[in-house]
Assembly symmetry: D2
Amino acid sequence: MIISTKKGTPQAELDRIIDSFEKQGLSVTLIRGTDYNVFGLVGDTTKIAEKDVLANPWVENVTRVSAPYKRANRLFHPEDTIIDVNGTKIGGQSPIAVMAGPCSVEGEEHMIKMAKLVKAGGANFLRGGAYKPRTSPYSFQGLGTEGILDLVKAREATGLPIVSELMDEAHIDEFEEYVDVVQIGARNMQNFQLLKAVGKMHKPVLLKRGLANTIEEWIMSAEYIMAGGNENVILCERGIRTFERATRNTLDLSAVPVVKEKTHLPIIVDPSHATGDYKYVESMAIAAVAAGADGLEIEVHDNPQCAWSDGAQCLKPDKFAETIAMCRKVAAAIGREM
Amino acid sequence: MIISTKKGTPQAELDRIIDSFEKQGLSVTLIRGTDYNVFGLVGDTTKIAEKDVLANPWVENVTRVSAPYKRANRLFHPEDTIIDVNGTKIGGQSPIAVMAGPCSVEGEEHMIKMAKLVKAGGANFLRGGAYKPRTSPYSFQGLGTEGILDLVKAREATGLPIVSELMDEAHIDEFEEYVDVVQIGARNMQNFQLLKAVGKMHKPVLLKRGLANTIEEWIMSAEYIMAGGNENVILCERGIRTFERATRNTLDLSAVPVVKEKTHLPIIVDPSHATGDYKYVESMAIAAVAAGADGLEIEVHDNPQCAWSDGAQCLKPDKFAETIAMCRKVAAAIGREM
Amino acid sequence: MIISTKKGTPQAELDRIIDSFEKQGLSVTLIRGTDYNVFGLVGDTTKIAEKDVLANPWVENVTRVSAPYKRANRLFHPEDTIIDVNGTKIGGQSPIAVMAGPCSVEGEEHMIKMAKLVKAGGANFLRGGAYKPRTSPYSFQGLGTEGILDLVKAREATGLPIVSELMDEAHIDEFEEYVDVVQIGARNMQNFQLLKAVGKMHKPVLLKRGLANTIEEWIMSAEYIMAGGNENVILCERGIRTFERATRNTLDLSAVPVVKEKTHLPIIVDPSHATGDYKYVESMAIAAVAAGADGLEIEVHDNPQCAWSDGAQCLKPDKFAETIAMCRKVAAAIGREM
Amino acid sequence: MIISTKKGTPQAELDRIIDSFEKQGLSVTLIRGTDYNVFGLVGDTTKIAEKDVLANPWVENVTRVSAPYKRANRLFHPEDTIIDVNGTKIGGQSPIAVMAGPCSVEGEEHMIKMAKLVKAGGANFLRGGAYKPRTSPYSFQGLGTEGILDLVKAREATGLPIVSELMDEAHIDEFEEYVDVVQIGARNMQNFQLLKAVGKMHKPVLLKRGLANTIEEWIMSAEYIMAGGNENVILCERGIRTFERATRNTLDLSAVPVVKEKTHLPIIVDPSHATGDYKYVESMAIAAVAAGADGLEIEVHDNPQCAWSDGAQCLKPDKFAETIAMCRKVAAAIGREM
């Protein structure tokens, strides 16, 4: 950590600063500049918050040299983490995962039908929302437990492991019992209470990036889960909020190489939520594979106009199958299985 | 709601669309254009999601004419909502509220000391965090229940009503019993589970704007709380995330007149979190009063360098008193009490 | 165009509005709603500015149904535009173009060397900046005319057509004489004076997207050039400014399918400026090809640490060749030549 | 400047780095850390570009401690710059300036009428656009020279100095002869060619902040003008582009205290372009004064619905007079004249 202090900072204050950091076990070097003095701190600075150092009015700015995360940091864990979900692996050189299904669970019969369709189209995971975060209190909020049980039936019918979003600590037992991958939605990426709770679960967690969260904050949220004991975190890029309105969000595909450089965790991409428009899902799915993503999460519905939520971004089953077929060709071109 | 469909949409499809909306009790007018056909829907469209309409591939775009919220909408509730907290009022032409105190509760003695200092400086509410949302799992996470009880002692010592952040449904009983204003933090603005829960509480809710949330989404989150039965919602602008880095967030003061136009709810401003830097808090507090805010929330600490969190944005008690004195002059200039 | 007016707008005002639009040759339909009245305008509304309509205090909001551009609009020009540069074609099903070279021209000898290296690595256009837009007045500002002449020598040596940035109307004759593709930089995307000037040139224009410009504004800037008579516009996505700092800008790859849907113009991608970091250029170049881009613009330097500008985002020649080789495999996978 | 290099950087490379900076006259200190080595450079680093240092693959990141600007830097020029325009002063403790008038010049008679109206309402500068930057090539582009001459007539009639936007180097002589304050618009803030040109003018420059430019980039653009010899630069905050759509842009009022801390230049605020909506102009004008702005720029039109451009954000003359009267009360409350 590098701290610069204003011109004219009294010697007594410089001494006090050095002393306070040395007491925390850090080694401190002072560089005297023309207009600023600069301190370099060596040692474990993950517990020092920049904002607290800035409270000192003599301090001009603070820069972190080391990343504020440890468990997720590739520096201390160079090999890729590979996550095993009922025998299907994600990460490293594992085949690219395909999670697909409707936005919302819409009943047992429909869920089983959709599971069969997405499996036929190339999915190796089934997604479906039983608890739905909706902007409006007047929108459909999900089937709840009934929806989870419908997913279980669909897993029985197809063998596909199931991915579903957890919104409430109160449902942790239910998810621990029935769900294979616990999704934390973008709007809950910094719901630290929930992160702590899933950190104690025994199921892999799919952590979506928040709409306005930096990659560093996203990795810090993974760190929360890992610090709780659950090291099986899959990151999911799903678009960030920008000024552009032609797409619902802006898919940040460069997050794929950045995350792979900074961490050892797998990263997948959700082109459905990123674009919000079925017309752009195919090209972004293919691009995500080309960028090096470890998996895709895609919304599929047999009748998007009647979907209970988010129909505008759903692919129909035949278009989905076509998209995955094209993704496989691109995966082969870059030397990955799918 | 206005829906435009592509050139060449078959008549049967136009008929089907008209029919489906008429079945929902809406009256539909079709305008045939050169390149598009446009439908106007008249009636209550709050239950129709734009995204679902867009699932129809013949649909080009959808525009909402009426706001998607009702209870919070000034159109249906023209008079200002005035919220009464233990006799102190917020909103309408009530005196401008001043909520102040340290970021984190740091023990009973310190809390009482700070309560006396902020009261002397002009505060009529005491703020303090007992449960802290922190980006890093390695940072101090708050004193919890002990912190809430320290706030209660400070209230006893000064008479100031207390404001504190709720992060977890599990603490609702505790907040219902001890806290006067329940704060929902920016990172939980779309934690719909928590919004539903506070919608059933009997205490006013201070709803902070999310880092990347539009004013409309923010009002929709207020609507969630109101739809649950709790109409006492105070909105709090605390800066949004932009590309600028000279300040931690960008204070969106124009949200004040926008919120006052669209809703009847009171709106306050938090210049401490918005700027993240004590040097800019005073001018932004004064500007917020000038812009028409119904209150301020300001972080104050007697020794910011030793604050347990967020010291960089805390005012010292004397600077706080000076800031409030200047705010009062500006309030008087625009004809408001403070 | 759809215009909604407030509840209570007097009939005389509604009549006046209808009359004013009918005088402009538009056909007007009025839909009376519960809380709003809505007008639908049919006809050519490209000359009506939303902002002017909003000046009427009875107007609540205005929505454009048709796009505000015509010449660039795919609706009126369904076939892809294919641009011919000295026999090399860009757009449609033409082979994917590769524009490469150093950020700045650094002298004749170096330019010829670089031209040979990028040609060997797979480039079919040579890029190099002779006039450089630099954030600091104290940075190197480009070799000027000398740099243009160095590019000409490199073209003679390799046959590669040359692409260079125009910053000033004063250099138009020079560019008309020597340069093959005239680049307009991101910071000048809304320098309307310059757009008008290149609209009268006889050379294709490469129009970079502005840092904070929507896709619609970008197409409108292409429309400026086309309205001047120069229909040969190539769009170039080069990243937009967001809150994320791990990359210099955020590459918006979804702009590729959006631009292809809305316009008939070719679109290329510049992963060098988008990411600002050589480590991420390869994966984003491959992803751009996968997304359907008609070309790439990549910065290459034989000694990035000594580059006169932007070394951090330059690929070395061997890495460039490797990147293009991988891009070709992906192009083949999706059925495109490169 | 602080440079951190990766773990494992060879000693020879560290020596090479030290040597290369020492050759540029800088003094270099090396701090060896656990995971990184850090260099501190002391001396004038304004000519070193971060991006060039980052081209070295051993370098992890680079932090500037000193600001990259000198002439605009308050550190080297502690007193406020006060700019004298025909005897009217802006900056320091001068009375708060009020620049007002229509968006576009609409003819001599109208211009004189508007000049008298804004003068009566409290303006001490007259603004009006003769050359207009318009997003669409089909919109009115300004009266040109005729508009400049209309402004001159209005100045003769009222004595108000005139402010108008320069878009093209070709008009510099005209502006030097007729205009009192030369405005550089937001879209040209990084048109470095134009900045260099106005740097040689003898008239004060009003430099608007770009839609997506940081405060540091904005100050760097002022530095461009100052480096050319023209030290009379007034900065103008006019809203930045964010995800929010309730206002056209987001007014960043915290830029006022930030600019005053970092530079000695005057800063004014344009609430008209910032909000894009006349309903929010008054409260933002008052807030700007409260925040410490040295002036306001406000669009005023006697018949906004018929304004030739930007009617939606114009105040009518009586509302303008009322707004300025309220601003004066607030100015008095904070101890400033207006």
